[in-house]
Symmetry: C2
């Protein structure tokens, strides 16, 4: 999948993966890849700047730790981030409903949690 199409929806995805628990950058990339069956294989040059944007915006906070001699920066959602996520979720639903109206809204209902 062309991640090109992610334009404007990446922040929402990042907030969403962090909703289920704090992760460090590399793990976020793997989480996105895993939960999308490999469709979303985003390069570090996309993820790290995005995370810093989110941190500057106050939606996440980061903290360093050392694991196996490797420096990790772990990101965690803030309250502001949780609110932002709710907004992004809403925006996504409106967006996908609108586009779906043109391209066929029959998105096969993937099994919910």
């Amino acid at each position: 999948m062309k991640a090109q199409s992610l334009h404007g929806h990446l922040d929402a995805l990042l907030l969403a993966v962090l909703e289920q628990g704090a992760l460090h950058g590399y793990a976020i990339i793997e989480a996105l890849r895993a939960r999308s069956d490999g469709s979303l294989d985003l390069p570090t040059g996309t993820i790290y700047p995005a995370l810093r944007r989110l941190e500057r915006a106050g939606h996440v906070i980061s903290s360093w730790s050392t694991v196996n001699g490797r420096e990790r920066r772990t990101y965690e959602l803030t309250d502001s981030g949780r609110r932002a996520l709710a907004g992004e979720r809403d925006g996504w639903h409106r967006f996908s409903a609108t586009v779906g109206r043109f391209l066929g809204s029959d998105t096969p209902p993937s099994a919910p949690a």
Copy 2:
């Protein structure tokens, strides 16, 4: 809605509106606005270049006509365009399913045609 988020999906939308019949540029804009309840209000500077892209790609063909002393350029889907639309549709479904898996895939099923 920020049309910003359309990035990469605009061509699909254009092909989709043309699927139901040939239209000229201005009418395409109105069709998008109408069928989206005003959510998609795209400026001419977005539409016209996009249509020319599609024409260069062979997905649409245009023809001039004069109506009420006004020059109109009417666009029509080609076979290639129809095939492209099928692909875009497929791509959209995969995309929205993937993103939906993270943001909640519960897109309310809007009534089909």
